[in-house]
């Protein structure tokens, strides 16, 4: 373990590269596992009371209207 930020960032980059370069079969297996976790988290989501304030970004469709101004 290190507290050297530069080394930590390099290590993170190396991990990202390793994950990016995995065979697609393996990446898709990981996607399935991540999907299952997402589903569990969605089911356990705490209901936000009506009127509660918070920051939320709604989904937008893939369309020309979504082009940034």
């Amino acid at each position: 373990m290190t507290f050297d930020l530069e080394r930590i960032l390099k290590s993170k980059e190396a991990l990202r590269n390793k994950l990016t370069n995995l065979p697609i079969e393996e990446k898709l297996r990981m996607l399935d596992a991540l999907g299952e976790r997402t589903l569990i988290l969605q089911q356990a989501k705490v209901q936000i009371p009506a009127g509660a304030t918070g920051v939320r970004e709604d989904s937008v469709p893939y369309s020309e209207d979504s082009q940034p101004k």
């Binding site: 697609i24 996607l31 399935d32 991540l34 893939y62 020309e64 082009q67």
Partner: protein
């Protein structure tokens, strides 16, 4: 969950003539070029055959076909292999082009069509949500974009200003 079951099913839909060409986009499409990231659903872009004289896109044949094969509907999605799958028409010229230019990928001997990295990045730029910006940074950092191809897509679809703004915000040391 089994994403390969999704690919198998949409390939079969193509063979059975239910859809005429498809391409995977969104987060699942991006995984073919980037590190795996969690996503809630699978975006499958298809060309809908519009009845002559009609302006309405009818996805009913797709739903009927999948229902007959035991797939359940959930909100706007169809559950295939445990994944919510959304069948989406190309809603603009950029996505239409992405669908036309999609590339064939091999997944353990199974063919599938996926948007190119450059089109996925351009769509992320155009869509512009926080998660799209993260994905766009990942595309840049992974070095998987062909700069010439990407720039020509940005030019064709009027996205240069958005790209310059994105570069200033996320790819520059001095904003």
């Amino acid at each position: 969950m089994d994403i390969k079951e999704v690919i198998r099913t949409i390939n079969q839909m193509e063979v059975d003539g239910i859809i005429s060409g498809y391409a995977i986009g969104g987060a699942v499409g991006a995984i073919f070029y980037l590190q795996p990231t969690a996503t809630a659903d699978v975006d499958v872009f298809i060309s809908f055959d519009i009845e002559p004289g009609s302006l309405i896109i009818d996805p009913q044949p797709i739903f009927d076909y999948l229902k007959q094969r035991g797939c359940m509907m959930q909100d706007d999605s169809v559950m295939i292999g445990g994944w919510p799958v959304q069948f989406l028409p190309p809603a603009g010229p950029l996505v239409e082009e992405a669908l036309a230019c999609a590339v064939t990928m091999d997944v353990q001997g199974m063919k599938t069509r996926v948007f190119t990295a450059e089109h996925l990045a351009a769509i992320a730029l155009q869509t512009g949500r926080a998660k799209d910006k993260i994905r766009l940074v990942q595309f840049v950092e992974a070095g998987v974009l062909d700069a010439t191809r990407f720039q020509s897509i940005l030019t064709r679809h009027g996205l240069q200003a958005a790209w310059q703004k994105f570069e200033r915000q996320f790819l520059s040391d001095s904003p």
